[in-house]
Symmetry: D2
């Protein structure tokens, strides 16, 4: 039986909802009203008042990210997965994220870092932070996030040290490179997402000048495939671009070579 | 100062090594012999006997995956990130993986699940399992993996229940779908990677017939970008295909619609 | 000065028109009525009654293809260019096309083959053929197309021989492979576009059994790039799939090897 | 029966040759010596002295382009097809190409323009032009190309007018934009290929300032598909980048809006 507070992903081919369950919860769908009463289990099918079926699923991490209430663009799962891997984020990691935005990536970081890890999340826009906090309250089970309503550029840095990994998603990432350098542990990881190539160029130039090494940049494309008898083929349209992902590691002193690499993962 | 047993990623533009550090460790590189002695820190540059610089970095999760000793094909980071997100794997998750292969994905799962999580890993080839275990011994810090040297098809299933997520990477995935169904918790996640479309077709047909829902399939492409002053452009070549990724969730009863979705993440 | 009958591509960022010019032609746009009177030249800017500018351009071949009136899906320029190259179609070629559809590819073939070439175009749907003929009347300057309102499957083939190249775009292409074989010159080229992989599999199986050689299949993706100061990046979305393109050449006798090649062009 | 001078594409899965046939021609292959004697036809299989089969095919346009002897990078078929379509090149067109390079695109242009068309090809490197001329002598059947051994930048332009379409493939394309403007007919087409984004940015900036309109930029990717029973999938690797393609049309006066468009073909 579901317990109050359980996150449920209510799924229908045409629409889906991510909510905290409570006994008797009522949801307006495009196919009528859905009232969910115990006894009900994950995996069960429930019906609206016009008998349209919805399935009670457990949310994936992608679902958590995509279902945040948002006033900003968000990081998408196709990039988020590689961010985790390239920043070496795992159970117990200590990471800085800037900016919080709608909290989509924050939720992922929190769930991966777990109770022994820590997420420091910076946002300078008060309204965005408010929305992000609400999203996180709903979707996160770990109490491992600390928020900062401030702009590190004005505050002369993050004021936090010995951080394993830092992820930066702001319009002027080059302004944060030296603050990030100071906060990172030796050999630690930094990552960025930027939509425009000029942002990437300017930031990578800063990384090269500031003892970062193993600079790598790539883009990620995913394409859905329809697998149906005699009708198997990719879906018609796809996302062509969300942003360039780029990463580097902190070296203690400047190395001679500039180390921009053809990175194939 | 580095401690004995610390994992170090010794990086040079043209080659890199992932090893357990011990004081005085000696490595033969393409640019001479490298002897690393304390005091040395992550982020430091060390020199070979012919004065070629290498940097001591912390490995990313991608590095751990790519540096396993291997006798099999491995899961690549570009797919692994999305596997984590689509299977909802996080700190504390309980997951089944089959087959272990060289242990590349096992290492990732272990690092994400952490000390409160659990990874059950099945492999039927004894030699592969032996190599995988060695890789994991070197690269994993969590003691959360249980290995099984057996083929679930012959053993009539996994013999484990209430699992959050299952990932299957074998040549005949369709044979494991009903065993996976029995081991999964309601609403739990299943994922696959298969190189050939016929494998996908046959397995998805099985998923549809066996109460799995929200079936989605996609492929992931990454493309490296060279960011250099006046020479910015994608690198010349890229990986065109490793495998199709496909996922579904367990429904307790059969739903009427077949729920193959255009999944854009 | 433009002459009556000149094809003009009337271009505005938000909409465009391809028409035959005549002095005083009037066009309703989303930005008012446009009346075009001589003296006017290609390259001139003309204004609607609400002073919105449109430019008088010469149509590209892509424009001719995209501006046909259509009741069917059409071949897109991204595929059409490679069809021309892979089928070796050039000034003077003799080609068969089936089916005509809306005549989009027919127009291209006619313009490439020129006055010394010949295009035989088959269509079994009378209404489609009628529309195609109208499109071609408007857009083609060469008198080198012969239409056939018939289905070669029922007619026991094309009834035409010594053809350089054949292009087939029908739902059941495998039914036409042996007729195509009979119509092609030795060493001649055959090409197909099919949306579903099962169509490709079935047709390629037929090609292998019927003395076709050098079988190659690929897909084409194009991605638009926005080049703007400090805002340079790919556009957000792209076409993920229109169809698989596949080609082969006619061998006079069966060759032992099956010759499916990794074709990188 | 083949005639002396017939172009034959001698095909084997592992290697292929494009040569002018003469009776008794002898070719050294990786599988022994091949001597081809009449009577032989296009489509026939011939055998080397160790009985390895090769097939006598007609070359496609892609084959002509790929088989040139080269000292430069060449335009590839995946881009060349779209160049033809976007520049509106067809039977009878008058086009300028700069630079000639190895003559790969020149061959295509010549074959498409045909006997009523004209190709003006500029190259400033004497050795490249010599190689290109040899390639063209072998592969072209139309006598419609005029070569210029000169750099239009030094010569103050092309010295040719009323040209339908111009294609520019040089390292500093922005230097040629105003000369191209002068040579083009009103509403005529201009196209470029450049490997680096900075070249594109600089050239497009020039196009915007010089009355060119409808500026569009895109990249083309092709991916080979292996279609084999139970083993159908994309081939492992692909070309990730050759160059950015960009196009515009000549407007007689400057238009207000800058007209950079999301171009999806």
């Amino acid at each position: 039986m579901l317990k109050n507070g359980d996150l449920i992903f209510i799924y229908h081919e045409k629409s889906s909802f991510l909510v905290s369950f409570y006994d008797g919860i009522s949801i307006e769908t495009h196919k009528g009203r859905l009232i969910i009463k115990n006894p009900v289990e994950y995996g069960d099918i429930v019906y609206t008042n016009i008998m349209e079926p919805f399935i009670i699923l457990r949310p994936t991490l992608s679902d958590l990210m995509m279902k945040v209430k948002r006033k900003t663009t968000i990081i998408y799962p196709k990039e988020a997965g590689l961010i985790i891997l390239e920043l070496g984020i795992q159970s117990g990691s200590k990471v800085i994220e800037i900016g919080t935005g709608s909290g989509s990536l924050t939720i992922l970081l929190s769930n991966i870092c777990g109770e022994n890890g820590k997420v420091y999340s910076f946002e300078r826009n008060e309204e965005h932070l408010k929305i992000a906090k609400k999203n996180i309250e709903k979707f996160c089970k770990f109490n491992n996030i600390e928020f900062f309503l401030k702009d590190p550029v004005n505050e002369n840095g993050f004021g936090i040290h010995n951080i394993d990994s830092i992820f930066i998603d702001v319009p002027t990432p080059w302004e944060l490179v030296d603050y990030a350098y100071n906060s990172l542990i030796g050999g630690g990881h930094i990552g960025f997402i930027s939509p425009n190539i000029e942002q990437v160029q300017r930031t990578i130039n800063k990384l090269e000048n500031l003892n970062f090494t193993r600079i790598r940049c790539f883009e990620v494309l995913t394409r859905g495939i329809r697998v149906k008898k005699n009708l198997t083929r990719p879906f018609d349209r796809m996302v062509a671009h969300t942003g360039y992902l780029y990463f580097a590691e902190k070296s203690n002193i400047k190395s001679e070579s500039n180390y921009i690499i053809d990175y194939n993962i």
